[in-house]
Symmetry: C2
Subunit: 211 residues, 2 copies
DNA sequence: TTGCCGTCCGACCGATCGGTCGTCTAAGGT
DNA sequence: ACCTTAGACGACCGATCGGTCGGACGGCAA
């Protein structure tokens, strides 16, 4: 039950990177919070960027695992998309720092570009594959008539903004709508996004595949 | 036409803070890019936090000015909300670093909390007032029957995510949907969000105020 | 017992951080 | 002609940054 040092480091680093960002977190701070000396970190991760990469990879893997069953090919695109969104929301809700970490990572395309931090390439590819699968579900749905003729990339941008941002909004979001990670707030977010998908993207009064 | 040193500093700092975040930007970097020595910055802004505050304030003021006419009390809430969103998108599109700066600021609720950086209080209050006005439009619309019974705070979270995030998504967004700030991309974003409001939130086949 | 190995540590490195200080210069008012 | 003032500058400060290094400790296999 007691976590290994490596896991402890990852847990602490995930929370700190989410709160203060890559440049804002010192390795000393992480080491202290993990109950280790700073130099001990380097026995588990060769560089700060590698530590960040490991943290990010763990988060993306969790999300991928939870969303995978919903996205398996061959099903009703409407149900696939809805189930995928619910799975994503559940995963973000169980790992509070995750949402903010993901959005911060998107914003750090300078310092954390895969060119400079090759340890992030694997994570990026996995995320790309996941997004491609979602895009596929949307384009399939449009092709079958289940969805209006929406643009998959734009729909995905909207989806990320509407799903991930609220769980990353911290004090701002709490002042606006109360506790972010309460069961009620999570349920409200699901309703909000599912309604968006249903009324905004699904074709009304259509039973879908016209074949 | 040639900008004053102060304006030059603000322009450079806005771009840098948006790209690398508060902790990730050194004052030396800002000074160099502005064509000044580092110590000259302190003749215009007493601390780094004050500089960030001035940058943020300028961004929020621009947004507020552009959205104000759309939000003046007494009008059709549907038109008010749509016009406000269009105004916001236009403003973000004209000032590319703005969206990312705003979201980053939301995420920095630790280091940049108004308690520690009192120069941000004014900006925060102005932003709160702006959001309150939007919330008012939504609740009015719900009361008059123009909107479904949606929750204003949740709707605002969705709106921020769907409007602001895409313009802050940088390389990630460009890989997904091409140039973010092209005229076509801006038009697509407007269509996307306006459709969301219309189909997702407006009551169908209703002419609104039943009085 | 011996030797190895994974883990951890304190001391240290050069670089950079935000910020201070004293000085110099150019413009403007009297 | 004089003095004030704003703006800019280089030198410098203590603190912290990511990262290195040599060694100490404990478990385990031979």
């Amino acid at each position: 039950m007691l976590p290994t040092s490596r896991e402890k480091i990852l847990d602490v680093a995930e929370a700190r990177f989410a709160q203060r960002g890559y440049a804002g977190v010192g390795l000393r701070e992480v080491a202290d919070a993990a109950g280790l000396g700073k130099s001990s970190l380097f026995h588990h991760f060769p560089t700060k960027a590698a530590l960040y990469g490991a943290v990010l990879d763990r988060v993306i893997e969790r999300i991928e695992q939870r969303m995978r069953p919903a996205l398996e090919p061959g099903g009703d695109p409407r149900e696939q998309l809805s189930a995928a969104v619910v799975a994503l929301i559940d995963t973000l809700a169980e790992d509070p720092p995750a949402a903010r970490l993901l959005l911060r990572t998107v914003f750090e395309d300078d310092d954390l570009s895969p060119t400079e931090a090759p340890e992030l390439m694997a994570s990026e590819q996995r995320l790309d594959a996941l997004i491609a699968r979602i895009a596929r579900v949307i384009t399939d749905g449009v092709a079958s008539g289940a969805f209006r003729p929406i643009s998959a990339p734009d729909a995905i941008q909207t989806l990320i903004g509407a799903v991930v941002f609220p769980f990353a909004s911290g004090e701002f979001g709490e002042k606006l709508a109360g506790e972010i990670f309460s069961a009620e707030a999570i349920a409200r977010r699901k309703r909000e996004v599912l309604a968006l998908i249903q009324f905004g993207w699904m074709r009304p009064h259509s039973q879908g595949d016209p074949s």
